[in-house]
């Protein structure tokens, strides 16, 4: 497994594909000019208000879209792939305010756009783009939830985060999890929490030599923090 820590991203290879884990939480595949983001959860605040009566600040869609716009601009992506759970539920697609619909439409214009189905949404059918359960492209397979025994798999779903003790201070950051067979992306959506890398599910999925790439201001590779038995 080749790994290169650079200023603002971590380069690595997966089943022969050269990839970049970016500080934003997006995965960039330069050879294909493909930008991949997972778990946008657009419309989360709307869904919470509708379903639970909790009124979170209703600005997370524009925040997520503006970060996505920055990433598209920075990479000049020809293809954008949303790896599932793009919308918090189907109804959130229909209740998206007009200006946010236009914004998303503008982002989609002039490039290839692929929606992978997630467990929260089967894909926003009202928007254009390609809808797929999963995508096979060259050496890589893109799907929402990691499968058993994969080769070159890119997935999301778990919103991994990792915790690191730095000089007595504890620091938690969302992260990529990467081993020789797969990469699991952090959630790109603004209103998303995370599952710690020492959770049993994640430890079972990842090989012993897996790394975590912490994201935030920079992307930073560390050995994947795991819970200890005992």
């Amino acid at each position: 497994m080749r790994f290169e820590q650079r200023m603002n991203d971590v380069r690595f290879s997966l089943n022969g594909a050269e990839l970049s884990a970016r500080a934003s939480g997006a995965l960039w595949w330069p050879a294909e000019r493909m930008l991949c983001v997972s778990d946008l959860h657009l419309g989360k605040s709307e869904r919470l208000a509708r379903r639970t009566g909790q009124y979170l600040p209703p600005y997370e869609v524009r925040e997520t879209l503006s970060r996505l716009e920055d990433e598209i601009a920075a990479t000049d992506a020809a293809t954008v792939l949303c790896l599932g759970d793009s919308f918090d539920d189907l109804s959130a697609v229909n209740t998206l305010p007009e200006d946010e619909v236009l914004w998303l439409t503008r982002l989609m214009a002039g490039r290839r756009w692929i929606w992978i189905e997630g467990n929260h949404d089967p894909g926003p059918l009202d928007f254009g783009g390609t809808h797929l359960a999963e995508l096979q492209r060259g050496p890589l397979t893109f799907r929402h939830i990691a499968a058993a025994d994969p080769v070159g798999e890119v997935s999301g779903h778990y919103h991994p985060k990792a915790r690191l003790a730095v000089r007595g201070q504890s620091l938690t950051r969302p992260c990529f999890l990467i081993d020789g067979r797969r990469v699991i992306l952090p959630a790109f959506g603004t209103y998303t929490g995370g599952l710690r890398s020492d959770a049993a599910e994640l430890c079972a999925l990842m090989a012993p030599d897996a790394r975590a790439v912490l994201i935030g201001k920079t992307a930073q590779a560390i050995p994947m923090p795991r819970g200890r038995v005992g």
């Binding site: 790994f3 820590q5 605040s45 709307e46 208000a49 509708r50 639970t52 009566g53 909790q54 009124y55 979170l56 600040p57 209703p58 600005y59 997370e60 524009r62 925040e63 305010p97 778990y158 919103h159 915790r163 690191l164 003790a165 730095v166 000089r167 007595g168 201070q169 504890s170 620091l171 938690t172 959630a187 603004t190 209103y191 998303t192 929490g193 995370g194 599952l195 959770a199 030599d209 790394r211 912490l214 201001k217 920079t218 930073q220 590779a221 560390i222 050995p223 819970g227 200890r228 005992g230």
Partner: protein, 801 residues
């Protein structure tokens, strides 16, 4: 003068008691709509509050609730119930007394709602919960009196604000309701009276005989205290001597961590095996109850404790209070000292143990203030609006309401008397729709308005969620600590989640006086064993760090003006004299700033005397400004009286650093990124009902679905900077942990008169600051850099580079 009926006077006589004058006076004023009693501990205050109730209920004619008793502590409610039983049983009075707290069983609580007792003893939170039920008018029907105990403590917190909003509601339900407040000695009785009264009605104040002055002094030790640090462990031999010489000693500490350390060392030095216990708010309830029971039974010779024993149960046999560390606040010192000797007209005995050289000065200043009866306290300002938001939701849970009527009612709570209608409407809008500039939720309005203009919950099920979030205490996130064994293990207490996060298996820490070994985390519980084979880390407890009060700081500054200090130990007086020779002593109306090189670094010492929290904020703001102007600050450390900054370049002209507009501008930018602000925001958001309280079960299942409130803060700041929650957060930042208000006070005090002294070496007054713990690296350089280093190291260790 009220006369007691023979039934009552015989009962007093039979017990060999005299009716205290203030007890008789309270009876005479039983009809007052609002009455405040200020009496020292041990003065029969509670009985004074209840006597009119017992007299009124003696004939057995009253049905339903007659008197509501509110205490800040659950334990106190239960204790008072037991104490009241004595007169009621002795005189065979037809009175039913029950308590109702978070610990009361579900069946009992249901029964109490259907058939309330004559006297109900409860807490502010349980009262708020009762008021949220639709049948509140029926439950409180016929209520005559409400007695608020330890009102001086409640008046300092949001719990008190919530209580007073509740009383405003009760007064609407029961227009004849009379209010009684019971208070310890306070600096401004008028403020407590205004807090208690139904605004703008008056409230009568009755001052009981304060009793003799306490017998209070500094503890004499063979060794002088160290130059810096806290804990007072140098004094352990002398403290043990005192414990041996008294029946029961309470040893107060300012923080839980210091209490733990002191207790461990005290125990190791306790060669006579005197029974000594420890008590603080992070210990498991079972552990605390055990210590309390042993205390009541007279089985303990000493208890090492924190503010958790400031209030509450009459401990009876305590004959000495020891305060370790500077008291920080004269009023709290006097109240703590009152815990010793609960016999009326006997002086309480107390000893102060300064933890370091500077605290000697502070202790002497505090002793002078106690003798002068000069208590301190800062006015609290208008009622916090996050509590009002919660109150509006509680009102809605009980049924539809009219906004005009609710506004009028709320304005009758003293703290909310100056609330404008626009401010009220903003809170109502927040409760109804979230109050965002982007009107995204108007179609899901939580409180829609009915055609008749009343506001009503859209979904009645929301009432359940509102009830679950009642209360104004927002804990830092903690994890339970248990001994690991097959059957679950005994609970020991709690540690902060952020502390638990730094532990790896095999690490040891102190809790409840024992060193335990971290084994792992299981289902949100920290599992430990007693296999302690390493020196402990100290658990980081959330206990509030008190800052030295403004009044006490002023007193120290005026001591500095004296030509000499005969009242100080010689070593301390010599120290101050030397400072005066080489530099100067700080003065109240000027700001002393010293510059000197040390150990290859340039240092700047700012003697602001603004209290620890404000000095900390000052350190952050000044270093931020220094970074901008290329002075390369590296870090700083703060105490209650000064901030020491070190960096690469000397500061030639400090005046621009303290320009008021510079600091204000710095404060505004700083708001956006500071962790303390985010913590303040979180507690505001929980109280106001923006986010749910984290119930443990929920946290476990929530995982991916729950996310940090920091994200909400950042989002609001970016897209809706004028939102109510941010306005409240800024208001809170002026006090509390950020305490920008005290920086403003300091700036107003010195009026730009800055004395900049440049010296070749460290000054006597600055020297102890070099030994202080809690050094803070300057931001910017800080986290990313540390993270990169740590990451590199980890990769290298794992052979992954």
């Amino acid at each position: 003068m009220a006369t007691l009926s023979p039934l009552f006077s015989n009962w007093f006589a039979a017990r060999g008691w005299q009716v205290h004058p203030h007890q008789r006076d309270m009876l005479a004023r039983a009809d007052a709509p609002a009455q405040l009693l200020i009496a020292p501990t041990g003065g029969g205050k509670t009985l004074a509050g209840f006597l009119p109730t017992l007299v009124e209920l003696a004939d057995g004619d009253h049905t339903g609730l007659h008197t509501l008793y509110i205490s800040p502590l659950k334990a106190l409610a239960a204790d008072i119930r037991r104490n009241l039983r004595t007169p009621v049983d002795d005189m065979a009075l037809p009175i039913r007394i029950e308590d109702r707290t978070g610990d009361t069983s579900y069946t009992q609580r249901r029964r109490q709602r259907a058939d309330p007792p004559h006297i109900l003893l409860t807490t502010p939170e349980s009262l708020a919960l009762l008021l949220s039920y639709e049948d509140a008018p029926r439950i409180f029907k016929g209520l005559q009196r409400v007695v608020v105990d330890e009102i001086h403590a409640l008046a300092e917190s949001k719990r008190g604000d919530q209580l007073m909003l509740g009383l405003a509601r009760l007064s609407t339900l029961c227009p004849d309701l009379r209010r009684v407040g019971l208070s310890a000695t306070v600096e401004d009785p008028g403020a407590i009276a205004r807090f208690l009264a139904r605004h703008p009605d008056p409230c009568d104040i009755l001052q009981a005989d304060p009793g003799p002055d306490p017998d209070i002094a500094m503890l004499k030790t063979d060794m002088p205290p160290p130059w810096a640090g806290g804990g007072g462990r140098y004094a352990i031999p002398a403290v043990l001597d005192q414990i041996r010489g008294h029946r029961t000693t309470l040893i107060f500490h300012n923080t839980r961590a210091q209490a733990e350390l002191f207790f461990r060392d005290l125990w190791m030095a306790n060669t006579d095996a005197l029974p000594i216990g420890i008590h603080h708010g992070s210990l498991a309830r079972e552990q605390r109850e055990k210590v309390e029971a042993a205390m009541v039974a007279g089985d303990l010779r000493a208890i090492v404790c924190t503010g958790s024993l400031d209030l509450g149960i009459d401990w009876g046999d305590v004959d000495l209070v020891i305060q370790v560390g500077a008291p920080k606040n004269v009023k709290r010192l006097v109240q703590r000292v009152g815990r010793a000797n609960h016999r009326y007209n006997a002086p309480s005995k107390a000893l102060l143990v300064p933890a370091n050289r500077f605290e000697i000065v502070e202790c002497v200043a505090a002793l002078q203030a106690v003798r002068a009866h000069h208590l301190d306290g800062d006015p609290r300002g208008p009622g916090p609006r996050d509590v009002l938001c919660q109150h509006i939701l509680i009102t809605a849970a009980a049924g539809p309401f009219d906004a005009d009527a609710l506004y009028t009612e709320v304005s009758r709570a003293g703290a909310y008397a100056t609330l404008t209608r626009a401010e009220f409407d903003a809170c109502l809008d927040f409760a109804a729709t979230g109050g965002y500039a982007l009107r995204a939720y108007d179609r899901y309005q939580r409180l829609p308005q009915r055609p008749d203009g009343q506001w009503q919950l859209r979904d009645p099920r929301a009432a359940r969620q509102i009830r679950m979030n009642i209360g104004t205490i927002v804990d830092t996130e903690t994890l339970k600590v248990r001994l690991k064994n097959t059957r679950g293990g005994a609970p020991l207490g709690e540690v902060e989640e952020s502390f638990a996060a730094t532990l790896t298996p095999g690490d040891t820490f102190l809790i409840g006086g024992q060193t335990v070994r971290y084994e792992g985390l299981r289902e949100m519980t920290v599992e430990v064993t007693r296999r302690a084979d390493k020196p402990p880390k100290i658990a980081v407890f959330s206990g509030t760090k008190f800052a030295t009060s403004t009044q006490l700081s002023d007193r120290i500054l005026s001591m500095f003006r004296q030509p000499d200090w005969p009242e100080l130990p010689r070593h301390t007086a010599d120290w101050l004299r030397l400072q005066r020779e080489v530099s100067q002593l700080p003065q109240a109306d000027r700001l002393l700033v010293e510059s000197f090189p040390h150990d290859g670094r340039e240092h700047l010492c700012i003697y602001g005397f603004a209290g620890r929290n404000a000095q900390q904020t000052l350190g952050l703001l000044v270093t931020q400004r220094m970074e901008e102007t290329g002075l390369h600050p590296l870090g700083f450390v703060s105490t209650d009286y000064a901030t020491l900054i070190w960096g690469l370049d000397p500061v030639r002209d400090p005046a621009p650093l303290f320009a008021s507009d510079t600091l204000h501008r710095g404060f505004e930018t700083w708001l956006s990124s500071n962790a303390v602000m985010k913590r303040t925001f979180r507690s505001t958001a929980v109280i106001a009902g923006l986010i749910d309280r984290n119930t443990p079960g929920k946290r476990k299942s929530g995982r991916q679905a729950t996310f940090s409130s920091d994200i909400l803060y950042d989002t609001l700041l970016k897209y809706d900077p004028d939102h109510l929650m941010l306005a409240i957060t800024r208001e809170e930042a002026l006090r509390g942990l950020v305490d920008f208000g005290r920086i403003e006070q300091m700036l107003a005090r010195v009026q730009g008169r800055i004395d900049h002294v440049t010296l070749p070496r460290v000054t006597p007054l600055a020297a102890p600051l070099f030994l202080e713990a809690g050094r803070i690296p300057v931001k910017g350089a800080a986290q990313e850099r540390l993270l990169a280093d740590a990451a590199e190291q980890l990769m290298a260790t794992a052979g992954l580079s």
